[in-house]
């Protein structure tokens, strides 16, 4: 099927099999490999991207379902060479180690802060429960979310 998808403000037209998963479309057809695959069963959240402004697990969306829609991936978070506030906070607070879950985690945190600009620690933990991290024990991630919230509030 022919589809047209806008990813990080750029429009792409491709022909895909109906069964092609959105995550494979992004990674392999568009070369946007910042979105990762970690579990394939809609649990780990490494493949999280924004679809029409809401986070989804791109391993559980078909590429054809994104036809005509807008997607933001981790590659679209920084703009004009400036890191996004959430990216900057993850860096400052050591919110990542191996980095594999990080792109998906950052997308989820961006969603969380859009929905709840100053979340409590509990709300943060609830807000990222769709993203597994095996390295950090989440504590520095929680710190990073708090730091990002502050930075965004100050901006």
């Amino acid at each position: 099927m022919d589809i047209s998808v806008t990813v990080n403000d750029e429009r792409f037209e491709r022909s895909v099999e109906p069964r092609r998963l959105l995550v494979h479309f992004l990674r392999e057809d568009l070369g946007l490999t910042g979105t990762h695959i970690g579990c394939e069963t809609t649990v780990c959240g490494a493949c999280t991207v924004m679809l029409e402004g809401r986070t989804v697990k791109s391993c559980t969306v078909l590429a054809v379902q994104a036809d005509g829609k807008e997607i933001t991936t981790i590659e679209g978070m920084a703009s004009n060479g400036e890191l996004h506030a959430v990216q900057e906070a993850f860096w400052n607070e050591h919110g990542l180690q191996c980095g594999f879950c990080t792109p998906g985690m950052i997308m989820s945190v961006d969603q969380l802060l859009n929905d709840q600009p100053s979340p409590t620690k509990d709300e943060i933990r609830h807000g990222i429960e769709g993203n597994l991290c095996r390295c950090t024990g989440y504590q520095h991630i929680v710190n990073a979310v708090e730091a990002a919230a502050k930075a965004k509030a100050g901006a």
Binding site: P18, R19, L21, L51, R54, L62, S108
Partner: protein, 284 residues
């Protein structure tokens, strides 16, 4: 973890969708948060998917004469964050917030969830307590059936071939009725090992209205009528709640799996029912 091949259609009207469903091997895609993982594990291999996502008429929350109608393609996130539901059917809104995680709630739909009939899904507990109905439409007509008639068994409903679940109907919550939902979840999947939804009305210290429904306990979510009967008209106090909640799994063929034994589930059913009753009583 790659699906087998299938054809795909994304009709923009319901009638088109119904026509496409005429093909016996076709399956409805309504959010896909359960179906797509099953496709990837090749536990489901339909010849065609009919995606309801592009039918605008299926995504709405509207109030009509004391009934709230929710379009099948309304996402859990939309239910969770609906001002209308928060005000007029808070049990459903708060239950939606328990489902899966943020990403799943952004994508999964109420119609998809109800039609999938997972015995551990969160919605059915609230919907049974709300005495919800579902609207089923086929090329030859439409019918509205009570949810407890719709849910037949684990992953089995009374949906007929060629039929699409288009709406879920819940009542506007009655004045003076408080609600609560308590769960204990399976930590990996986030599905309920036990989920207990309660609607409770108290007047002059006595229970004037009560609905209790459970999910996760048996092969099918159910109304705990024994609990309701034990409470109806009686005192609304801790002793009564405990005594009534003890009937929560009565007559149920309680599930047993690697996550929870039947004995544990049955015990949790009583505990979470009692706690949900207490929560509701406390918030009334």
């Amino acid at each position: 973890m790659i699906p087998a091949s299938f054809d795909y259609s994304a009709p923009e009207t319901l009638s088109e969708a119904l026509q496409l469903l005429g093909d016996e091997e076709a399956k409805v895609l309504a959010g896909g948060q359960s179906l797509i993982p099953m496709l990837k594990l090749r536990l489901a291999q339909p010849a065609r998917l009919v995606d309801l996502d592009r039918i605008p008429d299926l995504n709405f929350i509207a109030e009509d004469n004391g009934t709230i109608r929710i379009g099948a393609m309304t996402t859990h996130h939309q239910v969770e964050s609906s001002d209308l539901l928060a005000e007029k059917c808070p049990l459903l809104a708060k239950t939606a917030g328990h489902i899966g995680d943020v990403q799943v709630r952004n994508r999964g739909t109420i119609g998809g969830s109800v039609a999938h009939a997972d015995p551990a899904a969160d919605y059915p507990a609230a919907l049974l307590a709300l005495e919800a109905q579902v609207k089923l439409v086929s090329a030859s007509g439409e019918r509205v059936v009570a949810l407890d008639e719709f849910l037949v068994d684990a992953l089995t409903t009374s949906l007929e071939d060629g039929e699409i679940l288009t709406e879920v109907h819940v009542p506007v919550e009655q004045e003076g009725v408080a609600t609560a939902y308590r769960t204990l979840i399976q930590p990996a999947s986030g599905f309920a090992i036990v989920g207990a939804a309660v609607r409770l009305g108290v007047s002059n210290g006595n229970v004037s209205f009560v609905r209790v429904a459970l999910t996760g306990v048996g092969p099918n979510p159910y109304r705990a009528s024994a609990v309701e009967e034990a409470l109806e008209g009686g005192p609304a106090n801790a002793e009564a709640f405990a005594a009534a909640a003890a009937h929560a799994a009565e007559g149920v063929d309680v599930l047993s799996d690697i996550h929870a034994s039947a004995a544990y589930r049955a015990s949790l059913a009583a505990v979470q029912t009692r706690r949900a009753l207490e929560d509701a009583a406390g918030s009334a």
